[in-house]
């Protein structure tokens, strides 16, 4: 299958995933009822549920998944490590620590979000300061610094969880597991996704060369230092935007790029948009599942991204072997 055809199919899947998200939930809405709400605003509750609750959440889920997948592609090139995922540089750990710290002190939604943003930015700054020396990136140091920092955040998070009062534990856990039930406003996330995706589709040939190693890329004429800096900050921005919407949603950022490579999409010109579509659709469908399966109870989407993602990736891996 040509890459063009594959991308067209993935875009169709993306649109269908949004439609599915609009139709399913504690109140099932048929496709015809969905279409009727477009012309007839007298349907009241169905109208509200579909357009005021489900659509913003579906859009947030899609943006979140797209951002995580794109960030994963970028970091796998930067770190030249197949295990790299958006959380490896400590961004999500920093955000989670900020958020649950704020929750511990009884912060409201706005304060919690602000603290999460502060934690994420602090993590980005620390990793950058420790691994960027005199205009050059040491990729191994970058990776290790991120991993070490994440471990530190993990310990602090455990500490906060142990001392936190019972009543706040659940909202804290939802932050850690990845949850989209508070995600309504995703305009910023979409903007970040659009900018990062466009920028790196333009720089895609440079990414292809950089995947061969920094020296090789430099020998081919790639401005390696500035490209690596652009990757680091854009991947971090994409991860922050995603984490602010849905917390640490597991597995998407690492799995989606591999899944795409396993089906033969390796050129970053196609890998980036394809991963964005698959990541977006995947989180949208997983979130729909998470709020439908045990409705009206809403489960954290992060549980299902891993539960669905693990067997799919194992299947792809075994088929290839």
């Amino acid at each position: 299958m040509s890459h063009r055809a594959l991308l067209a199919i993935l875009i169709l899947i993306a649109i269908s995933s949004i439609l599915v998200a609009l139709m399913f939930g504690s109140l099932p809405v048929s496709l015809s009822a969905l279409l009727r709400t477009l012309v007839d605003s007298s349907l009241g509750v169905v109208d509200d549920v579909v357009w005021k609750l489900r659509l913003p959440r579906a859009l947030a889920a899609f943006a979140c998944g797209g951002l995580l997948a794109v960030s994963g592609v970028l970091l796998q090139v930067l770190l030249r490590n197949p295990l790299a995922d958006p959380y490896i540089l400590g961004v999500s750990g920093g955000a989670a620590l900020g958020a649950i710290g704020a929750l511990l002190f009884g912060g409201g939604l706005a304060i919690t979000n602000l603290a999460a943003l502060g934690g994420a930015l602090a993590a980005i700054a620390i990793v950058f300061a420790l691994s960027f020396r005199s205009g050059d990136w040491n990729v191994h140091r970058l990776l290790l610094t991120g991993v070490v920092l994440s471990a530190g955040f993990g310990a602090l998070i455990s500490l906060v969880l142990t001392v936190a009062p019972q009543a706040q534990l659940k909202s804290m856990l939802y932050w850690l597991m990845g949850d989209l039930s508070h995600a309504h406003e995703s305009a910023t996330a979409w903007l970040v996704l659009a900018v990062v995706l466009t920028l790196f589709m333009l720089l895609a040939t440079g990414l292809n060369a950089l995947a061969l190693g920094a020296i090789k890329a430099r020998a081919l004429g790639v401005p390696v230092g500035s490209l690596q800096a652009a990757i680091y900050f854009c991947a971090a921005a994409a991860t922050v935007a995603a984490v602010m919407l849905g917390g640490s949603i597991a597995f998407v950022g690492m799995m989606v790029p591999h899944a795409m490579r396993l089906v033969g999409v390796t050129d970053h010109r196609w890998l980036l948009p394809a991963s964005a579509m698959v990541g977006g659709s995947f989180v949208t469908l997983a979130d729909t599942f998470a709020r439908t399966i045990w409705a009206p109870q809403q489960l954290p989407v992060g549980v299902f991204t891993a539960l669905i993602g693990v067997p799919v990736l194992l299947l792809l891996l075994s088929r290839k072997a």
């Binding site: 040939t205 020296i215 004429g221």
Partner: protein, 254 residues
């Protein structure tokens, strides 16, 4: 189409591998770079290619200092075949070779028709046409080496640096690579410096640069330098030299 340096010192840490090097690789010339393991051949090549900073001195490509070149501009003037590439490449052989066109790309959206054509020619030159659609990761060591040579050919630079281009190649492809190197230097006016360990192949080059690894070097015509006593001093083992010129052969005494 020339590569030159004067008073160039190449060092690793505080150890000078090659001191005060004066070298001019002129249009049409093919140089062999010889020396023991760790004598600084690779470091010298990296320095000449602008991938490592010299401890002293500067390198000129086509009469202009390296520092004046933009990264991409240098990628069009000078190409280097690295000795090692440790990274897995996920795409096909043809995608891999096309990466050589990076410095020539006019469109940000990837290779144009001219780039495709140059890549196809390079792939054919190294007998890889039948493998073009194969994933790079499935190629054998020798096939990968030819793919890397083809990528350098696709880059189409007037100055070429090759670090052990013959490694992993079977005899026929070793010969073919040497012939292609002769052809692009003699007929197309390119210039090239090639790190080799095979002295018989080295004897088919125009000139030789020998690195002793302690800062000393020797450079000159192939016939003058490729002699038993010089080689013994360089490698620390005895080498028999048979014949001269196009008939020269070198065999280590076992």
């Amino acid at each position: 189409m020339t590569l030159s340096c004067e008073h160039l010192t190449v060092a690793v840490g505080t150890r000078a591998l090659c001191r005060d090097l004066k070298l001019t690789v002129a249009t049409g010339e093919l140089w062999a770079v010889l020396g023991c393991n760790g004598s600084g051949k690779t470091t010298l090549l990296h320095t000449l290619a602008g991938l490592a900073m010299p401890a002293a001195g500067e390198v000129d490509v086509d009469g202009r200092p390296l520092a004046e070149y933009g990264r991409r501009e240098l990628g069009r003037a000078l190409g280097i075949l690295l000795q090692r590439e440790d990274h897995e490449y996920w795409g096909t052989l043809s995608d891999y070779v096309k990466l050589g066109r990076y410095p020539h790309a006019r469109s940000m959206f990837g290779p144009g028709a001219a780039d495709e054509e140059a890549a196809c020619r390079a792939i054919a030159a190294f007998d890889l046409t039948a493998l073009a659609a194969r994933p790079y990761a499935t190629l054998s060591g020798g096939e990968r080496q030819r793919a890397r040579l083809a990528q350098l050919w696709a880059q189409d630079c007037s100055t070429l640096l090759l670090d052990e281009p013959l490694q992993h190649l079977d005899l026929r492809h070793q010969l073919q690579t040497l012939q292609l190197l002769r052809q692009v230097t003699r007929d197309d006016g390119k210039c090239a410096a090639v790190v080799l360990h095979d002295l018989t192949f080295a004897s088919r080059c125009d000139r030789v640069l020998m690195l002793y690894g302690d800062g000393r070097y020797a450079s000159g015509r192939t016939a003058e330098l490729l002699q038993s006593h010089v080689l013994q001093a360089l490698y620390g083992c005895r080498v028999h030299a048979y014949g001269t010129g196009a008939d020269a052969h070198f065999i280590p005494v076992i």
